[in-house]
Symmetry: C2
Subunit: 235 residues, 2 copies
Amino acid sequence: MSEHETTGLRERLIEAGVDLVAEEGAQALSLREIARRAGVSHGAPRRYFPTHLELLSAIARRGFADLQARATAAVGSPEAAVGAGAHPRALLATLAGVYLDFALTRRGMYELMFRHDLLESNRLGLRETSLPMFATLVDLVARARPGADAPVVAGALWANLHGIAQLWGWGSLRLTTGADDFAPLLRAALDAHLGPEDPHAPVSSGDPGSRRSPEGPDAHLGPEDPGGRLGKEGA
Amino acid sequence: MSEHETTGLRERLIEAGVDLVAEEGAQALSLREIARRAGVSHGAPRRYFPTHLELLSAIARRGFADLQARATAAVGSPEAAVGAGAHPRALLATLAGVYLDFALTRRGMYELMFRHDLLESNRLGLRETSLPMFATLVDLVARARPGADAPVVAGALWANLHGIAQLWGWGSLRLTTGADDFAPLLRAALDAHLGPEDPHAPVSSGDPGSRRSPEGPDAHLGPEDPGGRLGKEGA
DNA sequence: TCCGTGCGTAGACAGTGTCTACGCACGGAT
DNA sequence: ATCCGTGCGTAGACACTGTCTACGCACGGA
């Protein structure tokens, strides 16, 4: 109650939740703890979020927006990027790297985003928040594999990324594959769904250095970072 | 306290949990509700399971054993099956179908099995319970794609199945792909990781009827059902 | 017969989400 | 200038949860 409370309580609650899930994980997001962090009593959130799930959904929406911002910062608009000479395969590798990097660095937020028992995924446009990123995924897949059923391939690829993120996140894939990095799994998934290597790529076919794009995707979003105001890193 | 309580309380608690998760879902698995179902007081489970997570882990272990039993019932030992003339690609399709069928019919149990925050995944050999099935997966992948890095490809394929199971389970993939069945996604994943179609398959290449194996995997485990004593379907 | 030990009961405690009643301060109308 | 109403946060209650601890009861061996 002492600091700069120029912003409304609703926003403060969401930001407290974003901070809390980043620090303590998804299971620490109790209604009362969020209220404590925001400096209000446990009954206060009810004025803005009638139920616990709605508050968690608002927090998760920030995560979706954050991920979306990172994606567009990395690959930009697909038409513009492809028109500028970028290859869809490389853009997809970058996008997949951004996705896995998000899932494995912001683990609590990613876990919350896919805990559908904690979210009201059906209402409130929460599901629609992840649709634009999937649309760009479909677009890039359609360009990378012109003959295929793009939505199905994109869905299978998304499922593969999600599965790698989760199974790698808690160590199952590290145990079974013996690898100490998720890069080979990502490579395998991309090669599987998009073809082994870009066959008629005029530049990257003879350039082995371009293969490290799935390993170091953050090089694309370091300087600009237009999604900084979403998470806690912008406050 | 009235019925046939010849079995010990430990077993009764696990079976009550298996029933409960099948009927009400994973979030209904409270310690006190399981005790209520077993007809004992809320403090009784503590004698056998020092903490809630250990009881949940025991229940999840039943799920892993159940899935494993269905898998071996469907494809049997890989060496024997392949030796008997079966093709690894078809066996993998059957195995994947069994996996997805399990995940989508026993949804509560599958959710519990991969809620690592509810399980003590690191101890107690719970993680080892899923290793033999992954070993057969690696074996079949090694036979289906001799040149590839089998553990990595098998890991990526497993992640793909897991992702499809989860994303399809709560409707995301149905929304994005527009399909009303997960079969095209499963086809896409198998084609991606194992090659588009078995190139030198002498039988199934011209037989479109063999393609329905991912859609109807239970035909393999109807009669024998060696895993019947695991879940509630055997009691 | 007595004792000890295994096993389940019962109550307490802190914590949770939800609901309800209560205040308090601010702004417009009289 | 006074009064009222309404928005907003407080505080307490309720049922429920997981964990801990003390108790009792029945059964088997000495």
